[in-house]
C-alpha cells in the first residue's frame, strides 16, 4: 500500500516537473493527476497519457566526468552541492576511449546526460559522426554563447553548431626554472625567438646549472603543431588535416632536432600514463629540476613546479617565434558534450553554466589548492573583463599572458584524424630526429603519405 502511494506520488511529481518545464499543458497535467489518483489500477491508463515516459525522463541529471578533471579541480564537488539531485559520475574514458558512449548510442540510449571531458580536436568529430552527441544550440543561453571568446567558439563548432560547451582552456607556451637560468647568468625574461631560446638552453648546460637546457613533449599536437603555429597558422589542408609538408611544419621539425641536442635524452619516449600520452619525460625532467626551459601547455610546468623546492621559481612566457614568424601558438579547450540519447538537457545546460562560471573553480585553478595547480583558464570574455576591472588578490601574471596569446592562437582543426594523424606520423618524423632519415622534407612527406593512406583505407 505504501509502495503504491509512493508510485502515485512519483507519477504526480514527474508530471508536475514536466508542466513546469512547459513540456505538457495544464489540461494534460490534470488528466494525469486524475489517472494517477485512481491508484495502481490506473497505471495502465496512465501509460496511454504518457506518464510512463514522464517517469522515465525523471532520472536525476547524470553528468559523467573524465577523472583528471576532478583530480585537478577538487572544488567541483562543492559546486555539485548546489544541485542536490545530481547523479555525478566518473566516465569510462581512460585514454580518450569513447567506445562505451558509441555503443550505447547505437542502441538509442545513454546512461549519462552530459560528458565533461571532451577535447574538440581529439574526439568531437568522431562523436558527431557516430551520432552520439547533439549540438548545445537549443539549450545554451544566448548570452553565454556570446560571452565565449571567438576563437574558442570556433573550435567548438562544426557546421555552425556548437558541439562542445568549453570549460577549461589550455594554451601552449614556454616555462623556465628561474633558479637554474639565473645560475646560468641569463636574464629573467622569456626568450623571444627560437634562436634566443636555443642559446639560453645551451648556456644552462655550459654553466653547469642543469644537465639539460630545454625540453618538449614529443607528441605532435604538443610540439610540431605549436612550433609550426609560431611561424604560421596556415598549416592545414582544405579538409582539415595538419599539413606536415608545409614550410612551417618542416621548420618546426628542424627546430625540434636542434632542441634535442640540448634536451634530456629520453625526450622521445612514451609517457607513463594514458597510453603513453601523459606523464611524459619532459615533465619528469622539469619536475626533477634537471632542465632550464620547457615548451608545453601552461598547466604542465605549473603542475611540475609543485615538486620543486621553490615553486615560485617557475616563470612563464609566450611561445618563442621564428624570425618574421606570426608568433602564434596552439590552444585547446576541454568541455562538455550533450548526449543525443541523454535526458535532462535543459538541466544539463543549467548545470554546465553554473560550473563554468563559478569563481571558486577559477580561483582554485589559477592560484592552486593544496592538492593541485592546473592553471587552466575560463573560456568567457566577461570573466577576464571582471578580473581586469577588479583584479583579485590571488591573480597570477600568467593569466593575462595566456589571454593575450589567445588572440593569436589557433586550435588544431577538427577532423576525424585530429589526434591520430599525429600518432600515425610520430615515428616517421622521428626518423629525422634520430638521424635515420637525413632530409626533413622526406620525413614529413612520409608522414603525409601515411596519414592519407590511413584516411583512404577501406
Amino acid at each position: 500500500m505504501v509502495e503504491r502511494k509512493e508510485q502515485e506520488l512519483l507519477l504526480q511529481e514527474a508530471s508536475r516537473k514536466q508542466l513546469l518545464r512547459g513540456q505538457i499543458d495544464r489540461r494534460e497535467f490534470l488528466s494525469r493527476s486524475l489517472v494517477a489518483g485512481l491508484g495502481m489500477a490506473g497505471v495502465g491508463v496512465a501509460a496511454k497519457y504518457g506518464i510512463g515516459s514522464a517517469l522515465a525522463q525523471d532520472r536525476p541529471l547524470t553528468p559523467t566526468f573524465y577523472d583528471w578533471i576532478e583530480n585537478l579541480h577538487p572544488g567541483i564537488p562543492a559546486i555539485n552541492e548546489g544541485f542536490p539531485d545530481l547523479n555525478y559520475q566518473i566516465a569510462p574514458v581512460q585514454g580518450f576511449g569513447i567506445e562505451r558512449f558509441v555503443a550505447e548510442a547505437k542502441n538509442g540510449e545513454s546512461t549519462w546526460d552530459v560528458y565533461v571531458g571532451q577535447t574538440p580536436f581529439v574526439e568531437m568529430t568522431s562523436l558527431v559522426e557516430a551520432d552520439v552527441i547533439e549540438p548545445w544550440d537549443d539549450y545554451i543561453p544566448a548570452e553565454v554563447l556570446d560571452d565565449m571568446i571567438p576563437a574558442i567558439r570556433d573550435e567548438c563548432t562544426i557546421d555552425g553548431k556548437l558541439y562542445s560547451w568549453p570549460f577549461f582552456l589550455d594554451v601552449a607556451g614556454q616555462g623556465w626554472h628561474s633558479g637554474l637560468t639565473t645560475t646560468a647568468g641569463l636574464p629573467d625574461s622569456a626568450p623571444e625567438t627560437w634562436d634566443d631560446y636555443l642559446a639560453n638552453a645551451q648556456a644552462v648546460i655550459d654553466s653547469g646549472a642543469a644537465p639539460f637546457g630545454a625540453t618538449f613533449d614529443a607528441h605532435g599536437w604538443r610540439c610540431v603543431a605549436p612550433m609550426a603555429h609560431s611561424m604560421s597558422k596556415d598549416v592545414y589542408t582544405p579538409e582539415g588535416l595538419f599539413d606536415f609538408t608545409s614550410e612551417p611544419a618542416i621548420e618546426a621539425l628542424i627546430l625540434m632536432k636542434k632542441i634535442m641536442a640540448v634536451a634530456n635524452p629520453d625526450i622521445l619516449l612514451a609517457g607513463a600514463t594514458d597510453g603513453g600520452v601523459n606523464g611524459t619525460p619532459d615533465e619528469v625532467a622539469f619536475a626533477a629540476q634537471r632542465v632550464g626551459y620547457i615548451t608545453k601547455y601552461f598547466n604542465a610546468p605549473l603542475r611540475m613546479a609543485q615538486y620543486w623546492d621553490e615553486p615560485t621559481q617557475l616563470h612563464l612566457g609566450p611561445l618563442p617565434k621564428f624570425k618574421g614568424g606570426e608568433g602564434s601558438t596552439v590552444f585547446w579547450t576541454t568541455g562538455s558534450a550533450l548526449f543525443k540519447h541523454g535526458q535532462n538537457k535543459e538541466k544539463a545546460a543549467e548545470y554546465i553554466k553554473a560550473l563554468t562560471y563559478d569563481p571558486r573553480i577559477w580561483k582554485d585553478s589559477i592560484a592552486g589548492t593544496e592538492t593541485s595547480h592546473p592553471g587552466q583558464l575560463p573560456p568567457y570574455k566577461s570573466i577576464y573583463a571582471e578580473w581586469d576591472a577588479n583584479p583579485p588578490d590571488w591573480m597570477l601574471p600568467f593569466v593575462a599572458l595566456v589571454r593575450a596569446q589567445l588572440d593569436k592562437a589557433k586550435a588544431i582543426e577538427n577532423n576525424l584524424f585530429g589526434l591520430s594523424q599525429f600518432q600515425i606520423g610520430q615515428p616517421l618524423w622521428q626518423a629525422y630526429l634520430t638521424g635515420e632519415v637525413e632530409d626533413p622534407k622526406v620525413a614529413m612527406q612520409n608522414v603525409m603519405d601515411a596519414v592519407k593512406a590511413e584516411r583512404d583505407r577501406g
Binding site: S126, L269, G276, P427
Partner: protein
C-alpha cells in the same frame, strides 16, 4: 524398422535428461560467451564494418584479409609479438622450475611454507600496481635502476643511461623481465605440484644406484615435469603472443615502437583511427589467431607425452 531406433534414442535422452539439465548453464555460457563471439568476429572480418559509422556493414569477402596480409605492419607486428614470446617463454619456464626444485629441497616445513608465501606475493599484486611499480623502476631520470647505474656506480651518465621503456630496443626485454618476475612464484607453484607427484622412493633408488644430482634431474625429475611444462608453455605462449595491456601502457600508439604488435595494430584500427574499421581489425585478429593456433600445434607436438 525405425521404431526401435527412435525409442532407443528417446530412452537414451530420457535417461540422460538430468545430465543435460546440469550441463545446460555451462553450455549456454559457453555458446553465448565463447562460440558466438568467435563466429561474430569471423563474420565481421568479412565485412567493411566501421564502428563509428551508421551505415550498414557490406560483405567484402577476403578483402580485409588481403589488405592485412599486404600491409608490412601486419608482418612487423607479428614478428614483434614473436620476439617478445621468445624472450618471455623460456624465462617463464626455466626460472620457476629451478626455483621450485630449490624450494622442494627445503626440509623444514615452516621454512618451506614461508618460501611459498614469499614466492606468491608478486602474483597477488594487481596488474596496474605491477605496471606502475616497474614503470618507476625503469624510469630514465628518477628510476632506482638508473639511479644505481648513474649516481651510485657511475657506469653511465645522464646523457647515455639506458632507456628501458617507451619504444626503445630495450623495451621488450624490459617488459619480459617484469613479466617473468611477476609470474615467477605462480609458475613455480605449478612445478612444485609436479615435483610433489614424483615418488621419493624413485629418487632414492636412483641415488642408491649411483646417480648424481644432474642424472636424477635429467632422467627422473625433468621427464615427470614435462606435462606441467606443456601446460605452461601452451598457456603462456598464448598470453605472451596476445599481450596488449602492457603495450598500451608502456608503448602507446607509436607504430615504430617494438610494443606495437599485431594486438596493438588491431586495437588501433578498431578503437582509435578514423571511423574505427572493426571489419579490418577483426581480420587482423583472425590472422593473429591462426598464426597462434599453428604454433600451439607445434608446441603440443614437441611437448607430447612420450613413453
Amino acid at each position: 524398422m525405425q521404431r526401435p531406433h527412435t525409442s532407443a534414442t528417446a530412452r537414451h535422452l530420457k535417461d540422460n535428461l538430468g545430465t543435460w539439465v546440469f550441463l545446460l548453464p555451462t553450455l549456454l555460457f559457453f555458446v553465448g560467451y565463447q562460440v558466438y563471439p568467435i563466429f561474430r568476429v569471423v563474420w565481421i572480418s568479412f565485412t567493411n564494418y566501421e564502428f563509428l559509422s551508421n551505415d550498414p556493414a557490406q560483405w567484402v569477402g577476403f578483402g580485409n584479409y588481403v589488405e592485412a596480409l599486404n600491409d608490412p605492419l601486419m608482418w612487423d607486428s607479428l614478428w614483434r609479438a614473436a620476439y617478445f614470446t621468445m624472450m618471455f617463454l623460456p624465462g617463464t619456464i626455466i626460472f620457476p622450475m629451478i626455483l621450485a626444485i630449490l624450494v622442494d629441497r627445503v626440509q623444514q616445513p615452516k621454512l618451506q611454507t614461508l618460501y611459498r608465501i614469499v614466492l606468491l606475493i608478486p602474483a597477488l599484486i594487481p596488474s596496474t600496481l605491477v605496471f606502475v611499480l616497474w614503470k618507476w623502476m625503469y624510469n630514465y631520470q628518477v628510476g632506482p635502476i638508473n639511479y644505481l647505474l648513474v649516481d651510485v656506480f657511475g657506469i653511465f651518465t645522464y646523457q647515455n643511461a639506458p632507456q628501458w621503456l617507451g619504444g626503445t630496443a630495450l623495451t621488450l626485454p624490459s617488459i619480459a623481465v617484469m613479466e617473468v618476475w611477476w609470474g615467477l612464484g605462480y609458475h613455480a607453484i605449478f612445478f612444485l605440484a609436479g615435483l610433489a607427484a614424483i615418488p621419493k622412493e624413485m629418487i632414492e633408488a636412483a641415488r642408491l644406484d649411483g646417480a648424481n644430482e644432474w642424472k636424477v634431474f635429467w632422467h627422473i625429475t625433468l621427464p615427470r615435469l614435462a606435462p606441467i611444462m606443456m601446460i605452461l608453455v601452451v598457456l603462456r605462449f598464448g598470453t605472451s603472443m596476445a599481450v596488449i595491456d602492457e603495450y598500451l601502457i608502456f608503448g602507446g600508439f607509436n607504430r615504430a615502437s617494438p610494443t606495437y604488435t599485431w594486438t596493438m595494430f588491431m586495437y588501433d584500427q578498431a578503437f582509435n583511427i578514423g571511423l574505427w574499421r572493426q571489419g579490418f581489425a577483426a581480420a587482423i585478429g583472425m590472422i593473429g589467431a591462426v598464426v597462434m593456433i599453428f604454433f600451439v600445434g607445434i608446441l603440443l607436438y614437441i611437448f607430447r607425452p612420450r613413453g
